[in-house]
């Protein structure tokens, strides 16, 4: 599986995904997002511990940003997951975002499919902690956890920036912080300003470092999954994830063709509008 994920990362994963796709659709996929340093990896570690205690096999995909300058990356999410390194039923993969926006890497969706196909019961996806643009996780995970921390302006920004809409469960982490209760109230009052039809996001207070609140968090996740199954929304989420990946793949191919056409096209003495028209006209029709 380690090699398979690498193939996907270099754009050669298509054949394997095709062969395995029929085996997917069984895993419960959990997205974990929130500003840098709020404790996403520490929460992930607690959730892995919980899932393992229930006998589940767990895959983790952790995405960290690539440097826009060198294209290299420092992937440090594993540090918090060390207790699971030698557990054969836990597979952890770090990914660099490689310039993808939205807090995920291009191959994240493939990695999730692969873990699913290889029989992992739970797949946890930790996004880049960018704070505002991780909405892509909502297209991939069945249940999205948004983690926030007390006493940080970042968390308040997140509340303002439309992340409210993608949260299925809010996690106020670092409950040991004196302002934890204030943040909890702030989330509540922000939630009251919005209209919810169907699922109303739950709010769980945790202290990930000490493992406190993880059981409650897991229960909230289970309630959400039960809700999705009972209402048929699970099917909708699966279809959305499918559509999203199809779109991403098709767009990627299209972009390559477009870039080639732009590179090869003559542009002397032509205005940009005319050049764009000509390039579109030169692409094969669908």
């Amino acid at each position: 599986m380690a090699r398979a994920i690498s193939w996907s990362e270099s754009g050669r994963g298509g054949d394997l995904i095709r062969a395995l796709y029929a085996k997917t659709g069984r895993a419960m996929t959990l997205g974990l997002t929130g500003p840098p340093g709020v404790g996403k990896s520490t929460l992930a570690s607690g959730l892995v511990r919980k899932a393992r205690s229930l006998g589940k096999r767990v895959g983790v995909v952790s995405v960290d940003p690539s440097s826009p300058f060198s294209h290299g990356a420092l992937l440090g999410d594993r540090i918090r997951l060390a207790e699971h390194f030698t557990d054969e039923c836990v597979f952890i993969r770090s990914m660099a975002s490689r310039g993808h926006l939205g807090g995920l890497a291009g191959a994240t969706a493939d990695a999730v499919l692969l873990m699913d196909a290889f029989g992992f019961d739970v797949v946890l996806i930790e996004t880049v902690g960018v704070g505002q643009s991780e909405v892509a996780i909502a297209e991939l995970a069945h249940t999205v956890l948004v983690a926030l921390q007390p006493g940080s302006g970042d968390s308040i920004q997140v509340l303002k920036a439309g992340i409210m809409e993608i949260a299925d469960v809010f996690v106020v982490n670092k409950a040991d912080h004196p302002m934890a209760d204030q943040l909890r109230r702030e989330i509540r009052s922000t939630m009251e300003m919005l209209q919810w039809d169907g699922w109303v996001p739950e709010l769980v207070v945790t202290q990930a470092l000490a493992g406190t609140g993880i059981d409650e968090l897991w229960s909230a996740v289970e309630r959400h999954v039960a809700y999705l199954n009972e209402t048929g929304e699970m099917e909708m989420r699966r279809r959305d994830a499918f559509t999203h990946q199809v779109r991403q793949l098709a767009l990627g191919r299209l972009e390559q063709r477009l870039n080639r056409a732009i590179r090869d096209g003559a542009r002397d003495g032509v205005d940009p509008y005319e050049a764009a028209e000509r390039i579109l006209a030169s692409l094969p029709k669908f």
Binding site: G72, L75, I79, S94
Partner: protein, 138 residues
């Protein structure tokens, strides 16, 4: 198809809590365009190798300052063999006397860098040796 950056696990083993050196190397490799997976302090050989396998790393750099290098380095080599991961380039750094360094190289540690080794040498070594591994496995 796109060029995947080299992936390197940088690990600290044993009981010494100094990871400044490891972090400097990690940053240098990142700045050279590689993806560096940092595992944190106090890793066992088994944890390090398991990490490298799951991450499909091209290389492992292990830093040891505690003086336990003659036990820990060989254990990592052993784990690599045991897990069928002998293709992963294993190199190390730390305060290691020349005689010990030679014995470790004989055991299969591909390079030993002592404090003061120019960062560029390390980057060049990793790029060339891990690059060969990558060329083999794709």
């Amino acid at each position: 198809m796109n060029e995947r950056p080299l992936r390197i696990v940088i690990a600290k083993a044993g009981l010494d809590g100094h990871d400044r050196g490891a972090k400097v190397i990690a940053r240098a490799l990142r700045d050279a365009g590689m993806e560096v997976i940092y595992t944190g302090l106090f890793q066992t050989p088994e944890q390090i190798v398991q990490t490298a396998v799951q991450e499909d790393a091209d290389g492992i750099g292990l830093s040891i300052l505690s003086g336990a290098h003659m036990t820990l380095f060989p254990l990592v080599v052993e784990q690599l063999q045991a897990q069928g991961a002998g293709d992963i380039v294993f190199f190390g750094g730390g305060t290691i006397p020349p005689d010990d360094a030679q014995r470790l190289r004989d055991l299969g540690v591909r390079a030993i860098f002592t404090p003061g080794a120019p960062l560029q040498d390390i980057v060049d070594f990793v790029r060339s040796e891990c690059g060969k591994r990558r060329a083999l496995v794709g």
